[in-house]
Symmetry: C2
Amino acid sequence: MAHIVDIHLRFTVMTDQRVRRITVVLYTQLVETILKLPIHERLSEEFRNRIAQGIWAPGSQLPSEAELCREFGTSRGPVRQALAALRAEGVLTGGRGRPPRVCGQVQSQSFSTFLSFTEWALSVGKVPGQRTQEIARRTASEEAASYLCLPHGEPVVELLRLRLLDGVPAMIERTSFVLPLGNRLFDFDTDSGSIFAFLLEQGADLFSARHTIDAVAAGEQDAALLGQPVGTPLLRERRVTSSSTGSPLEYSDDRYLPTLTNFTIENNVQHRAGLVRVHTA
Amino acid sequence: MAHIVDIHLRFTVMTDQRVRRITVVLYTQLVETILKLPIHERLSEEFRNRIAQGIWAPGSQLPSEAELCREFGTSRGPVRQALAALRAEGVLTGGRGRPPRVCGQVQSQSFSTFLSFTEWALSVGKVPGQRTQEIARRTASEEAASYLCLPHGEPVVELLRLRLLDGVPAMIERTSFVLPLGNRLFDFDTDSGSIFAFLLEQGADLFSARHTIDAVAAGEQDAALLGQPVGTPLLRERRVTSSSTGSPLEYSDDRYLPTLTNFTIENNVQHRAGLVRVHTA
DNA sequence: TAGGTGAACTTGTATGAACAAGTGGCGTTT
DNA sequence: AAACGCCACTTGTTCATACAAGTTCACCTA
């Protein structure tokens, strides 16, 4: 799907001896596109809703496939596809002869919710906040350069922000953007909200991310910003976000106060965990 | 599938005025069962191998579905099921008109590899080790009782072990087992290897697990065992393992040296992360 | 040379059918 | 009461088919 939402045409026009700017916006038929979602995606969305709303409570059995087919007027294929999607996330179990059951309590998070602090905070009912400490174009640190696959001495745009939940310091974000992305940030008020949303709006091709989670002691800067003593254990998430062609766009070192935030995953015999334990030499 | 591997029949017999014990073992046809794996599971296994061995390198395109069908002599269904399994783990991407590509560098880990320190260590080519500090039956700690859904004052079997990688201290494991499971451990040499494997062998129904990851400062005991100063940041994984009926069997508080171990996950637009960020009040 | 057209190929979606394999309930037998 | 056999129902697996929708590339045209 092309996913073009609208097309902006900007003209500079002379009329009546005055210069005017005209913007013409062509809206494409997004509504059509949404309504034309494939059946099985509409189904899995519907199933997710029912589970979230408790209509299908944890532990309870779902209707049989045949019943779901009758209810939604489709064949077994799409119904099974929708169920498989939820099974792959560990939300459902079931086996031969046994109707599917709601199994996991932990809801998975979409790509954007997991990447964006702002979107995540809103999804858990908190007010996100941010205090930009610094935004600068400078030579990439060794670590950033290696993660971003940049030659030594290449410049990047570095951003240091303190992130807040309901006004309370919760996380420190040190991000390095490759130049094509980073340069756009100078036109953006980094105190106003989600960079992720801004970049997506600008058409950035943020496609995949690799997250590495460990623990570090708070340095002096961390401690001062978070209002904690130096040496406090912090939960660190390092992240490389790449485009759909696989070239790295952004490297971030996020340090969370572990009393406010943690990471959770569910796992079972049928469902391999996406998370892996890694040994570092 | 029943998954009965063998049946042991033990007799005590009098012959020639001597008491003998005879064990008769009935082996069931496991080989048959393995060979009878459904086609799509055999395919996804084969695909996983090819990716691991680099036959299908990251970034490279896979053969088209039609070719795979020809190669394995099946219809499109099973091939697509196998591809879907890998896609659900974020290993493959692709879209309409575009042959699938190997995308993630991070291999997912099976339930048992992720749960068992021993199995994991072997899978990354390290020699796992353990020094049992203590095994005891005592009243559950408040935290363990709450995670295991036990009434206040209920006894559990607590185990404290130092885990090693190639002889180097890497993790501290504090596990509480509910009695039916824990009591069996007194018949087991906890210095000899994997408790997880032992319990499975005993027929324990370890089905699902919820993992919570955060950071803590090393206490005195942690510091002494790991040979680190008090206050060193440790990467903590707390885990509740449950049976297939959902009743908790085991609670563990594992503290890793973050210089040796971390957790990694991959994520993309098409593939929701199983891992979620959680706010703790 | 730049750009459009169309054919060949690819994957995504959906249907219908058939059989394999496991679950649970019922009644009967031991 | 426990064990067994049977039946109805459920999910898992596989096939064959058809069409929708996107990609790629060679070719033609302006």
